[in-house]
Point group: C2
Chain length 636, copies 2
């Protein structure tokens, strides 16, 4: 089905995207005001039965990006869009005005085009813009010392009811007390400068945003968004890309990819559409998205000049920025670092310029032999961003397209420029993220993070992978997850996913899920390595379930309960197997975890004294051993 | 089908495993003697056409573990097994003797059991053993200063005809010269002590083996093996596990998994069978395997005492070691580090003891309240190992079963013991690898490598993953590939794969392939990061093909050409698309790589002078910028 065939009346949500996950309940944590309710997912667990005794396992609360789609009480109709959660908050600030009509000439022309009526989302309201002289960015408020509802929302969201969980864990019994101790004690290890408080306060959020170390992408024209924060002192986030192309896919398909992506954990979605009806597709996605939406406006601008990069003008681009800002796009990728002087630095690369936006601007610079207008007009762009609170995602148009080209002169020259531009944006109190590579062999990854922190003054880093080798097309979600987990550990705030189709084709829904889950686990591995105070909870709860053969709990605590259950059932289909104290790896005959329980019981029977004796024994033996010159047997 | 239903007469090779890979040719590099021919895979590429001119892309040679199965000239009959490649080399050494019958009582009883005839592999020869007083290990020869054919074989194998390739590349034209420069110049970066020569010589191999820093697992009763080397100054290797269990699968299925695993790149295969007919299954696997086979003898010993760990005895275990050594197993996992005193250290773990071998020995130690007999009899075990050249893979029976338990007292106490045992084995000139975890969060991975190098005196490290988070059952090939790539970079010599079924069930063939490819890319990412002199070649050849839209070459140079092609064709099925200068990501309308070529042509036209001018310009501007106090615009 093409966009043309699509009819708004037929628009429907994907049923698969609105089923609650197994044993999961949507909960809302109440904030300081009645309309501030923070969504989370609570996974209920079964009890543990150990020699006679029974001990409850309190439910585990996990981060929930799926919005109302997984709330059984919600009426979902994508033709109506989501409720305007943030509208009262924005109204109360009294610094915005409703516009009589769209500011963008292009936007108005699309609206006037009757042939588009059948596939248009029926938006009843007109857009907002900052009143003259007002600055409506979260950064501006933060610097005024104002804690917005958005800031309180993300503070509650990041805490995931950790304190309540640990209390109920301690109350559950001796096992629970032991677990609580495990979960609060952190492993040692290098955190590379991240310092995440045990409890995130709204004031901490405000401070990080004021400092520029975190962003809340939340356009005033996207009141449907459930606020989230991106910064290295918070949970590592992931982005999922969707978007049709000249070659494939329709509007409803793109909305489906969005609802499917957030079901599995996408924290933001980038709409990279390049085909027809970009404008209409975007409207459908934003109106139905509870997560921030990012775009690359130059893609649409290029469509407007029929793909002729040299025909791009500032006026046309400016109109495109305003068109999208008034639709509610939360962050823009702007390739302002692709300067005329940087372009020839790519001539001797293995793979030249692979960023679409980068190559568009490079072509423009060369054809006009002029400086990139995104650079010369950066100040004007900031004026637009702060009128709608659109965040910058400063694009790395010169990122390497192969591991060979990593960290080269062109890439680093651009990064340095992005650091200069960050300072300008911050002077306008405009929120900024910095985009990073790409393709980087492991030993060069840390240099990317270190230079970014230094040159961009700790603005959140947002990387694509990086892929750590180029020899596995079809598996680049994995070649890149290896790099993503590492750079996340080093301090990257958001990881842009890569699907198995990277370099080969457009991802379908299965690819989107594979990419999202792969990046969720990479981001979580990074949270663990950074010593995030709460990250260990889910791992430990799942490990305990695994150790106690609570199969259903193990499945339900995982990132993909459906696949875990399916894989288990391939070998042991019977339900009885799910309570059996063995698994198909060893069979009923013998099982290591069973034996461990015997060992544990034995140790318990022997008591601590025994253990100490044994320990003593070992130490003495070790000392003798050293005395004996490290020989175990004299005959040797 | 169960082993019982299996009939030797019906045994057949999996057709899917014997098709040559696309555009690939099996080649043999001749060594110093007629019977020393080292197999490799040569991937032929199409020409590059750039503005009129045509430039050839020389074929790329890659490492080939698939044995004769991918040689169209070979007659494959798994009922006959593979030819005895190494037989003359072993004969010439004159230090082994043919035994009149099997030494193992169990082996003889199986042979005498007529009910097994229908499913038995018909082996015509009797086993070899070292003559009295002889030591037939590669380490022993190496320490005598002898360069064996096995050592020369692996030296040639590791070089992959790199010199010849670079010569033909330089000869191919200016583009080729540029590429050759790329491939010989290395990126900077930490190699963590690995130092890999540009060309591996047989003498270098001998020296590394004598030093104990590398092993060639090659039992004198496995003459079919194509020698390979495991050490941190060589290409990182991967192991694939197969094995039926009490619950599932048959003999032919296991042979299929082996041929399937080596097709995709398994450097060694471990047979972890725990079900009935372990002995017969193993015979089929070894006789048909061109790669070293590893086992965990305690699994079979446990079967012999009906799963009652406490009934295990040294005599029974000894007979099992000899039974398997005379079948040709190349390395044994021996859990001699699970000492009585270490066991209670696991009592307060999150997940106790998860290693099967570890828990078996722990149970034995506790039931008898005696020291582990594998530890007390270690010297006797060495006597057996050197009589057949079976290499040790010293098992980490106390490895963590959850990221929480990583690097704890129990794990490290065992590692220290493995270091002591390494010294004993080396006194016998027995080759040693050390097994490592398991489940380890990223920030604790390096400590594992550092302590292993120090305590085990640089014996090759062989790790399982490690998994970097526990929250993704169904995706543990990925949670572990993240850890595997890192620890490989730090110096681990071989990575034991993890399949998507880990913790959930037994892998089928699809899982085996997914696990193998995932680990091949992780191992290669590690080779790149270590600065392996040849690792960049395949990445660069593939990146160049990608950049030039040589789709077929891109697929064929990848680890899984079938999947790459399939993914591409999902979106752009027509063959014409495979020569089109665009892909489905951007469509025919616009393509970044196309634009880059325009940029390159432009830069070329402008010439170097122009580039210098631009560069100059940038530098001047940068200086002004600094002078101007870092402000881009005065108005800001």
């Amino acid at each position: 089905m093409t966009a043309r065939d699509f009819r708004a009346d037929d628009a429907h949500v994907d049923q698969a995207a609105i089923q609650p996950l197994p044993a999961s309940k949507k909960i809302y944590v109440q904030g300081s005001r009645p309309d501030l309710r923070v969504p989370m997912r609570e996974i209920s667990l079964t009890d543990t039965t150990l020699n006679g005794g029974v001990e409850a396992n309190p439910p585990v609360t996990v981060y929930d990006t799926s919005g109302l789609y997984t709330d059984p009480d919600a009426r979902i109709d994508i033709r109506k869009g989501l409720p305007e959660l943030r509208a009262p908050w924005i109204d109360e600030r009294g610094d915005t005005e409703r516009l009589a009509q769209l500011t963008s000439a292009f936007g108005r022309s699309r609206l006037a085009d009757a042939s588009l009526d059948p596939l248009r989302f029926e938006l009843v309201r007109t857009p907002r813009r900052a009143r003259a002289g007002s600055n409506v960015t979260q950064m501006h408020y933060a610097r005024q010392g104002i804690v917005t509802p958005e800031m309180e929302f993300v503070a509650i969201r990041e805490n995931l009811r950790r304190r309540e969980y640990l209390e109920s864990l301690r109350a559950s019994g001796p096992q629970g007390e032991k677990m609580a101790a495990f979960m609060t004690r952190q492993h040692p290890g290098e955190s590379f400068g991240a310092s995440i408080p045990a409890e995130i306060t709204p004031e901490f959020v405000r401070d990080e945003i004021a400092r520029g170390r975190a962003v809340i992408p939340a356009n005033i024209n996207h009141p449907e968004v459930e606020p989230m924060i991106i910064g290295r002192n918070f949970l590592v986030k992931i982005n999922g890309n969707i978007g049709n192309s000249a070659v494939t896919s329709s509007i409803n398909e793109e909305v489906d990819k969005m609802t499917w992506g957030i079901r599995w954990g996408a924290d933001t979605i980038m709409d990279l559409s390049t085909g027809k009806h970009i404008h209409e597709t975007r409207e459908w996605i934003i109106r139905n998205s509870p997560v921030p939406i990012g775009t690359v406006p130059i893609y649409q601008a290029l469509e407007k000049v029929n793909g002729k990069a040299e025909d791009l003008t500032w006026e046309l681009f400016r109109d495109t920025l305003i068109e999208q800002a008034e639709q509610g796009v939360d962050y823009f990728t702007i390739h302002a670092g692709v300067r005329l002087a940087h372009v020839p630095l790519t001539a001797n690369r293995m793979t030249g310029i692979v960023s679409r936006g980068g190559s568009i601007m490079a072509k423009w610079c060369l054809s006009h032999h002029q400086e990139n207008f995104l650079y010369t007009r950066f100040d004007d762009i900031c004026q637009i961003m702060k009128a709608y609170d659109v965040s910058f995602s400063l694009g790395d148009g010169l990122r390497p397209g192969s591991v060979w080209d990593a960290n080269d002169e062109a890439q680093l020259a651009e990064l340095k420029t992005l650091g200069e531009l960050t300072q300008i944006a911050w002077k306008h109190d405009v929120q900024v993220m910095i985009e990073g590579p790409g393709h980087v062999p492991m030993q060069l990854i840390k240099e990317n993070m270190d230079k970014q922190l230094e040159w961009c003054d700790e603005a959140p880093f947002y990387t694509l992978g990086p892929l750590t080798t180029d020899i596995a097309p079809g598996y680049d979600h994995i070649t890149s997850a290896i790099g993503a987990a590492q750079i996340g550990w080093y301090g990257t705030a958001m990881l842009c996913y890569v699907t198995p189709k990277e370099h080969l084709g457009l991802p379908n829904k299965a690819d989107v899920k594979e990419g999202i889950i792969t990046y969720k686990l990479a981001a979580h591995a990074a949270d663990l390595a950074k010593g995030h105070p709460g990250a260990q909870i889910r791992d430990n709860a799942l490990s305990k379930a695994r150790f106690e053969f609570r199969w259903e709990d193990q499945f339900n605590l995982g990132l993909d309960p459906d696949r875990a259950r399916e894989f288990h059932d391939e070998t042991l289909p019977k339900d009885s197997a799910k309570v059996a104290h063995f698994c198909s790896m060893c069979g009923p005959h013998f099982c290591s975890m069973k034996i461990t329980q015997d060992v544990r019981d034995f140790a318990a029977r022997q008591g601590i004294a025994e253990q100490d004796a044994l320990r003593q024994g070992m130490e003495t033996k070790a000392i003798e051993f050293k005395k004996g010159g490290g020989k175990l047997y004299d005959k040797v």
